[in-house]
Subunit: 249 residues, 2 copies
């Protein structure tokens, strides 16, 4: 089993039960994953139940990083996946765990940072959480019985990741380019939003502001932006935001 490159982060968003955090850690380590991130765990952190359930994977739990927002949790990542059972009203590619694993291996072989979001036990990821991702992962399940728990969802995705260890090297050609991080993308979004707000762009359509902004974020996610694209877009935003020159009109 040749492991090349870095491994994806598993990001649990507002997990409710410590036991499930521990079970997720075990499933991760079963398949060679160790980068566990938690966004606002319900019962605080550290959590004794997570440690107890983790058994031999306790190091994964104890090294978990805790964040206040999904944006912070993914800020250093270049490729983010969101696991969700329900179809979403968003234009994002949808992959099976198998297809996602093949893609993740290609990215990590290029030393590009990846992460996979898992929602809370009761209701999964919110629409805003999913917006932070480039691709949706949906596990094909018996349509008459689609209830799987958090630990099992992590297990299946981690399993597929491990099964693709020996796949052929990446065919993606990056030349000298680097894929943008989510932090760079987030900074771009914030810049655009700030500039639009400063210009009163949304004032006549304030009730549609959040939908329009979400659509914009989803659109940029689809662009597979490189670092240089971010710079280019920042330049455009800056240019458009300048006050019009007094042209003597």
């Amino acid at each position: 089993m040749t492991v090349i490159g870095i491994s994806p982060a598993i990001i649990l968003v507002e997990p409710q039960m410590g036991e499930n955090i521990g079970a997720a850690a075990r499933a991760m380590l079963n398949f060679g994953l160790t980068d566990l991130r938690l966004v606002k765990p319900r019962d605080g952190w550290p959590n004794d139940r997570a440690v107890a359930m983790a058994a031999g994977a306790v190091d994964v739990v104890q090294n978990a990083q805790v964040f206040e927002t999904v944006e912070e949790a993914v800020s250093d990542l270049q490729h983010v996946y969101a696991t969700t059972a329900r179809p979403r009203d968003m234009i994002k590619p949808v992959a099976t765990p198998n297809a996602a694993a093949a893609e993740l291996r290609q990215f990590t072989q290029l030393n590009e940072t990846c992460g996979i979001l898992f929602g809370k036990e009761s209701s999964g990821l919110s629409g805003d959480d999913v917006t932070c991702a480039d691709t949706i992962i949906t596990v094909p399940l018996n349509p008459d019985y689609t209830s799987i728990n958090l630990g099992q969802a992590v297990l299946l995705v981690a399993y597929e990741w491990y099964q693709h260890a020996d796949q052929t090297p990446a065919k993606i050609v990056r030349n000298e380019e680097r894929v943008a991080t989510k932090q760079e993308l987030g900074a771009l979004y914030n810049r655009i939003e700030t500039e639009l707000d400063a210009r009163g762009y949304f004032e006549p359509i304030m009730n549609r502001r959040s939908v329009i902004l979400r659509n914009m974020r989803n659109m940029f996610h689809r662009f597979d932006m490189m670092e240089s694209d971010i710079k280019g877009m920042q330049g455009i935003v800056k240019g458009l935001s300048l006050n019009k020159k007094d042209t003597g009109k």
Copy 2:
């Protein structure tokens, strides 16, 4: 999702915790499996904890069949798989869950009966249990952390079964032949053993009797015997077992 043919049985051998039986039932139903069989569940049957854990998959638990021996549990099956983490000192093909699922789909598309054995939580399947199988399934795991629980093992195997739903039709050609059931194979083994014992075959090598018999069973398992092969072998055994004619020697 086109489901063609029949579905494999999940056979839990001496499961210890009712919770794990319930979790296995859920994992089965998530991926369209419903034929649950139990061999000597430790805490008896029915089991309230299994029912409680099964949640929406309670029908799978309540319709489970209970058997006294592995032989009885697999007697109507034509293809049996054994899940085991440890390498075995037996000549049996070893498959990943992925490869096994592809094979299972080919068999079930031919309406051939299949089952998968899972061992008890503490120690897995015994050597004799594995002998009842044609093929070993081993889940590739991080060699530094190979501990997965019973419900997770069932989940991964059932998941792979479901992922192969749409594979191309079977390429196996059976002509008019029918694959032997394990009952037919078991009857053949018993016949051979009885006849050998009746002749005192093992008397000088009694300490090796069980090893020799296990090797024989494993050998016949590898033969992929058809119904007609069983009849042929039964004829041979019968013929060899006759008293020598007095040829006037």
